[in-house]
Amino acid sequence: MAYHSPYRAPPHINTPPDQSFLWNIFQRVDKDRSGVISDSELQQALSNGTWTPFNPVTVRSIISMFDRENKAGVNFNEFAGVWKYITDWQNIFRTYDRDNSGFIDKNELKQALTGFGYRLSDQFYGTLIEKFDRQRKGQVAFDDFIQCCIVLQRLTDVFRRYDTDQDGWIQVSYEQYLSMVFNIV
């Protein structure tokens, strides 16, 4: 079977950050002092370990995850969640980037996703790298790794809703199929 348990964000590893520490970071990231961190402000604040900008699709995904008011940005309260989310991912990335290259190669990706509970074919890992590796190195940088996991999670969550007996197979009507895919993409 392709999946056992859904990936869940790891338990809180870090002690909660000091409020004033977080506020300092927030102010530095909120360049125009609007009180809301926009996509572009967050993108500028994040590093993917290369000299290229952080994947804007990943930034969008993260902001929309925590933006409770549909304002295309996060306020200070929501930012606490963003900060924790990114820090958790940094820890995961460091854990699986075993050779400390700053990139996760196919084998390291296999270990990471297997660790999250996925059971995917070797060929599928090739597809994932091919799809998400924006740097064209055959490995994924930090931002692309996050994006890969987000999409895979979304895909699996939606698939699972239709796979009632959890055997990895679904039988769907045409419209169910449309609905399924439009919910993922």
Partner: protein
């Protein structure tokens, strides 16, 4: 390092972009990639002339339908009009399905041309894919996680802006 196949693909990509931008400079890169993925029927990563011709004809059909609804030339149509447009393209979808699509694509009740095309491309590809799987022609198809995931990733997901 860029493989010869990738190089060829990139050349096809530029070629196609040139034509698509002639067609509508407002197309974003996502929509272009989607079109190329979708119409690369033989999965070669390149587009042959037949595939290109198919795309061009489809784009024209979608443009004409869109324009017939966008009477004020705003570059957007109303959600209701998009539903009618989809019907007139030959898709016999239930009100539920049409609603689902509207929710997915409309912003403040309107859909811009670019997103309309993106939706049409997806509908075309998904319908094609489903029909190929519905071998007993009873309106249902079976999918395994591995291969439907790979299909969606290859055809429908844009990881890059």
């Amino acid at each position: 390092m860029i493989s010869p196949l990738e190089n060829e693909w990139m050349n096809s990509l530029s070629f196609l972009f040139y034509f698509i931008f002639l067609f509508n400079p407002a197309f974003n890169i996502d929509t272009c990639r989607l079109m190329i993925n979708m119409l690369d029927r033989d999965m070669s990563g390149t587009m042959g002339f037949t595939e290109f011709k198919d795309l061009w004809q489809a784009l024209n059909a979608w443009k004409n339908i869109f324009m017939s609804f966008d009477r004020d030339r705003s570059g957007t149509v109303e959600a209701q009009e998009m539903q009618q447009a989809i019907k007139s393209l030959g898709y016999n979808l239930s009100p539920n399905a049409l609603n689902m699509i509207m929710k997915r694509y409309s912003v403040n009740g309107r859909i811009p041309f670019d997103d309309f095309v993106s939706c049409c491309v997806r509908l075309r590809g998904l319908t094609d894919h489903f029909q190929r799987r519905d071998t007993s022609r009873n309106g249902t198809a079976n999918f395994h996680y591995d291969d439907v995931s790979a299909y969606i990733l290859c055809m429908h997901v844009s990881a890059i802006a």
